[in-house]
């Protein structure tokens, strides 16, 4: 773990620090607390969605339905707020999470029990979940004026200088770290993705791990669905359209291997932060909105190329002197030994 931190996460953190410093030097507004706070609030959903997606990718899967799930769960939560304004806020949020969890369990069941490839299942449910919003809404939308006041105010409140979405993202990140690093089930995701056959021999059920991964992705999407709808004050079928790709990009930038079995909480958080900074910085740098999407895409590609280089088969430590130093021969060549 420390070795990994030394390499990829640290490099990514350094790049981020340099980028922030450079943009801040260009325009000091960028590094003012208000701007940073806005950026973190804006990115908090991405942190959580990326962490959940990482768990799915660890099992060699992919979940394309997360943004559709977010939209549907958020829509249901908004409906509850519209038609049952007296329900306590906690229950409204719980409704969003529960709907998300259910949708995630449907994905998980289709993938783990019926053995249908994840990309096919989630591409299908993506369309189904978005379609269900249109059916539920009858083509209409829920506007800010129809949602409860408290429902919308919660994501804008601040404690100790940080907004509630940031606090929630911090809490979820800690939970993910504990879950992935310190529990048997968490370790199981890495095992199943690293070598499914070996994991099976160790008594780890691939199906159960997959089912859990998609369920978690669903529940997190549900929570984020509430935050999204409440923050932007509108719920309809097209919110967060295409957002699943941003989520997957955050994972990939953070060093999660699409091949499964490799990925860390720290890396994914940095990947999401990276995208958050890029998206906030481009307007600050007065780059035309026409170019922003292309530039963001190019940045993602660059990060993926760097990661692909890092994922090359590492040199093995066969020479006794290499084992002693704990360094690869590439590193030794660079060091001139």
């Amino acid at each position: 773990m420390t070795a990994l931190l030394k390499s990829r996460e640290l490099i990514l953190a350094l790049i981020l620090a340099i980028a922030v410093a450079a943009i801040g030097a260009y325009d000091s507004v960028f590094v003012q607390w208000q701007n940073i706070s806005d950026m973190l609030t804006e990115t908090s959903v991405l942190f959580m969605m990326a962490l959940a997606q990482m768990v799915v990718i660890l099992t060699r899967g992919i979940d394309l339905s997360v943004a559709a799930n977010l939209a549907l769960s958020g829509f249901v939560a908004a409906l509850v707020s519209q038609y049952y304004p007296d329900v306590p806020l906690v229950l409204m949020i719980a409704t969003g999470v529960a709907v998300g969890l259910l949708l995630g369990m449907i994905n998980g069941g289709l993938i783990a029990i019926l053995g249908i490839p994840p990309i096919v299942v989630t591409l299908g449910t993506l369309a189904v979940y978005r379609g269900m919003i249109i059916i539920l809404a009858g083509g209409d939308q829920v506007n800010a004026s129809e949602m409860g006041v408290e429902f919308q105010a919660f994501p804008k409140q601040a404690f100790l200088g940080l907004t509630t979405p940031i606090w929630i993202a911090i809490g979820v990140t800690i939970l993910f770290w504990l879950f992935l690093n310190l529990t048997r089930t968490g370790r199981g995701f890495y095992a199943v993705g690293g070598n499914p056959v070996a994991a099976r021999y160790c008594g780890i059920s691939q199906g159960w791990q997959e089912f859990l991964a998609y369920s978690i992705a669903g529940a997190v999407s549900g929570l984020c669905g509430y935050l999204w709808v409440a923050r932007y004050g509108v719920a309809y079928s097209e919110i967060a359209s295409g957002y699943e790709l941003t989520v997957i990009a955050a994972c990939v930038i953070g060093g999660v291997s699409i091949g499964g079995g490799v990925g860390t909480v720290a890396g994914t958080v940095l990947g999401a932060l990276f995208l958050g900074i890029v998206n906030t910085a481009l307007p600050v740098l007065q780059i035309s909105p026409f170019w922003q999407m292309a530039i963001a895409g190019a940045v993602i590609l660059a990060a993926v190329v760097i990661n692909a280089r890092a994922e090359r088969r590492p040199d093995k430590l066969i020479l006794p002197e290499a084992r002693r130093l704990g360094r690869t021969s590439r590193a030794m060549r660079r060091a001139g030994t």
Partner: protein, 500 residues
């Protein structure tokens, strides 16, 4: 006799630490079937790979029709008229029969486009030549194994192959299908093809072969017309060495029965496997590749659950439905292909070693890294795993060290019974001795060991008792000291007893 179509002279091939072939010469004559005989690992596949251009020999000469040839790739071997039909067919399931026959040399028309009609017509001709009425446009995946073999033979004929190598072609065939195959072999013979026939089944060898070449440990130990030998002589040639001295066996006191297995069966792979296993005992499980030994032990371990039979461990009746049931009960299974089935390369040494019974390291809600580390250090040192630190990813370790980590993982479950599936396959002689010593040590620690091995000297050197399996069933049981290599191989191959 006509001139040989192909000769090998003084061919040798080594791999790091292993001498696969040493100074082997043989010649193949048109219109004759040559049987290639030897134990697993004797060098038969190496010869096939040299003949088909997959390996290049370190020394020696290949002559085709008297002309010295070097095969730089499989394509050169085809061009020289040598084609192989592999044990497990290597073909394209999703493509048609005709595409499979002509893959790599499809006929093209004047425009450069594939001449589909011509290809189908020629495929039909080739298949008719061997009396195999398979429609050329049929997808390959809808054919039986036997029919796929026929398509492979047609492919060999499409190359105008003078030499056809058949590597255990009958392994997955029924008796009728074998008759059909042999009829085609006879026909190819009559047409003047030279045929190399590899099989472990003596009845087939005596039925179809004209000549034989017997290998042992990479050297040729006998050849000649098949009519000049009998089964007992062939078995002696294959085994032919004093094996008992090779591995000094540790003397371990043998205790009470730990594991009792009765009538272990599943629907298609193994039936009525029964044995008792005692503390400190090493039970050898010998047989040809595909005799059902691995499958039966995987049944015991819950990978492919048994459908019938009982397993009793220390007097307690077990119901094993999954590997985790077996691990919890105290049974470990170290799979044959330790890299593919055992090692998780993306995880570190610690995470690999503790993976099979993570529950042991949980304190309160969470895993205790300190507990994991203690166990990792203990086993890592005991097995002399060489690494920079215990968190190092397995991908960065050498193959031998990866194997040690996998074995450490299974010892970390503190098993009472450990099944080792081909523990020395693919490792060099020096490491083999270390593994053998270690297996003795495990027994000395009071573990009950099941040793699946296809290497006769290994099982004879290590086992206290030996069960021979053939075609999914136990055929014979031997006690240490009351066995001979000839009897064991005879039981495994089904050689007639009176001949031995």
């Amino acid at each position: 006799m006509p001139d040989p179509v192909l000769t090998l002279t003084g061919v040798s091939k080594s791999f790091p630490g292993v001498r696969a072939l040493h100074d082997v010469s043989l010649s193949l004559t048109p219109g004759r079937v040559t049987a290639l005989i030897g134990e697993n690992g004797a060098g038969k596949s190496t010869i096939v790979k040299i003949l088909t251009g997959i390996y290049r020999p370190d020394a020696g000469e290949i002559r085709v029709k008297g002309e010295a040839r070097h095969f730089a790739s499989p394509r050169d071997a085809w061009a020289a008229g040598i084609a192989a039909i592999h044990q497990e067919t290597v073909m394209f399931d999703e493509l048609t029969v005709a595409e499979n026959i002509f893959m790599g040399h499809m006929p093209v028309g004047p425009t450069g486009a594939v001449d589909w009609a011509g290809m189908r017509a020629r495929s039909a001709d080739l298949l008719n030549r061997i009396d195999a009425p398979i429609p050329p446009a049929f997808p390959l995946k809808r054919l039986s194994v036997a029919q796929k073999h026929l398509v492979e033979i047609a492919r060999a004929l499409s190359h105008d192959a003078q030499v056809v190598i058949m590597d255990e072609p009958t392994a997955a065939l029924s008796a009728n299908e074998i008759d059909d195959l042999f009829r085609i072999v006879a026909q190819l013979k009559a047409e003047g093809h030279a045929i190399v026939f590899i099989s472990h089944k003596f009845d087939e060898i005596f039925r179809i072969a004209d000549d034989f070449v017997c290998l042992r440990d990479g050297e040729k130990v006998g050849d000649g017309p098949i009519a000049s030998v009998n089964e007992a002589q062939l078995v002696r040639m294959m085994v032919g060495r004093p094996v008992d001295q090779v591995f000094p066996k540790r003397e371990v006191p043998i205790g009470d029965v730990v594991l009792s297995v009765k009538n272990l069966s599943n629907a298609t792979e193994y039936a009525d496997v029964s044995f008792d296993l005692r503390k400190g005992e090493i039970l050898g499980l010998y047989g040809l590749v595909g005799a059902g030994r691995t499958e039966a032990m995987q049944g015991l371990f819950g990978i492919t659950p048994m459908t019938r039979g009982t397993v009793t461990l220390e007097g307690r009746r077990l119901s094993i439905g999954s590997p985790s049931d077996a691990i919890r009960a105290g049974i470990s299974y170290v799979p044959e292909d330790r890299q593919d089935q055992g090692a998780i390369l993306s995880l570190g040494i610690r995470e690999n070693i503790t993976l099979a019974n993570l529950g042991k390291y949980v304190r309160g809600l969470f895993l205790s890294r300190a507990l994991e580390m203690t166990e990792t250090r203990r086993l890592g040192r005991r097995l002399a795993v060489k690494a920079a630190n215990w968190e190092q990813r397995l991908a960065e370790l050498s193959g031998g060290n990866q194997q040690k980590v996998v074995i450490a993982k299974w010892l970390a479950t503190r098993p009472k019974v450990i099944v080792l599936d081909e523990p020395t396959k693919g490792i060099d002689i020096g490491s083999k001795a270390a593994v053998h010593d270690f297996i003795g040590e495990l027994a000395g620690d009071g573990l009950a060991v099941v040793l699946i091995s296809s290497e006769l000297p290994e099982v004879m050197g290590l086992a206290d008792r030996l069960i021979v399996m053939k075609e999914g069933r136990m055929v014979e049981e031997f006690q240490r000291g009351r066995w001979s290599a000839e009897e064991i191989v005879g039981a495994a191959t089904g050689a007639r007893k009176e001949a031995a």
